[in-house]
Symmetry: C2
Subunit: 171 residues, 2 copies
DNA sequence: CTAATAAGTCTTGTAATAAGACTATGTCAA
DNA sequence: TTGACATAGTCTTATTACAAGACTTATTAG
């Protein structure tokens, strides 16, 4: 299979990977989340070939994941900032980080500590169910194709219902 | 930077990506989660070059993400099954799937529906804080290097404390 | 002996990447 | 007005990875 064809696959993972699934894109986005914004800063931080960095940034801007915004004039210079679509990738990145923390940290523990400012604690990410709010291990999930209109309706309902923890049914 | 050097980086995302960050590995793991287990089934499902599939499976076995277990003898044939370490990648995959659902689904909605068997509902994944159980958007997270012993202790506490929803403080 | 099945390995042409030189645009200081 | 500096790229070349498909090995069935 050619890489370009992945975008047209009938699978959301394939479509996501057609954008994110190369050697550098997620590293670039990690830096973006750490507030790196300029071409040369990405280059020095990642030690990436300039040609590849240039291509990837253009792709990410094209996809609406980063936005190119001017930060000075004469000469006009641009920096790259995460859009909402880009910020929505945070679950992907933090899940990967915490998987790496669990399996590849040395004896000193994970290299970076994440603090949830809303509650003030250092934390690990936990995947939970949008419907009941409980943690969801892989074995508790069943997958099926969204073939019928009925199943598509159920899916849309789930997608738009707020997380239970955001609006408890009994305050 | 060479790809091999990523494994030694002082960053859990880099270390994770040194295993997962190529064009095919996450697609192979998606199939594994969908209960594909045999070489030829992976090949036909993914239309991946056999050489590359062979390399990737060997790497994943090497990393302890897949296990090669015999399913028949004369001749001995092996299949590839997710280990616990592999199952722990589910948050990464489902986060990517739901991001793809959100931004790349056509008018018919997402192609696959995920059901949480514990509660019986179709659901979307939500990243929550291991400490307070609330959803965690990117802007609510601060990151710092785990430099001091004190901060490392706090990190370990967070890593081993059960999720609030698993053990409610007031039942 | 021949075909079929499963799980690979090997070969060859094409595409992507790494490293670093080169270009474009404009500032500032001598 | 020349030269050094800064930022953000593009271009070139050698190396590496991938795609497609033929070939190999081991075993059973007919």
């Amino acid at each position: 299979m050619r890489w370009d064809n992945l975008k047209k696959e009938h699978c959301s993972l394939a479509r996501s990977l057609s954008v994110l699934g190369d050697r550098w894109t997620l590293m670039i986005l990690r830096d973006a989340f750490l507030r790196v914004r300029r071409f040369e800063d990405f280059e020095q931080s990642l030690k990436i070939a300039r040609r590849v960095l240039s291509e990837r940034l253009a792709l990410l801007v094209d996809e609406g994941i980063l936005a190119k915004v001017p930060y000075q004039e004469r000469p006009t210079r641009y920096e790259y900032r995460l859009t909402e679509k880009g910020l929505d990738l945070y679950p992907v990145i933090i899940s990967m980080v915490h998987w790496g923390d669990k399996y590849y940290a040395g004896k000193d523990g994970p290299p970076m500590i994440h603090t949830h400012v809303a509650c003030g604690h250092d934390f690990k990410s936990v995947i939970t169910c949008s419907e009941c709010g409980d943690p969801v291990p892989a074995r508790d999930v069943r997958v099926r194709a969204s073939a019928t209109p009925a199943s598509r309706n159920r899916a849309r309902t789930a997608a738009t219902r707020p997380h239970p923890k955001s609006q408890p049914s009994r305050a």
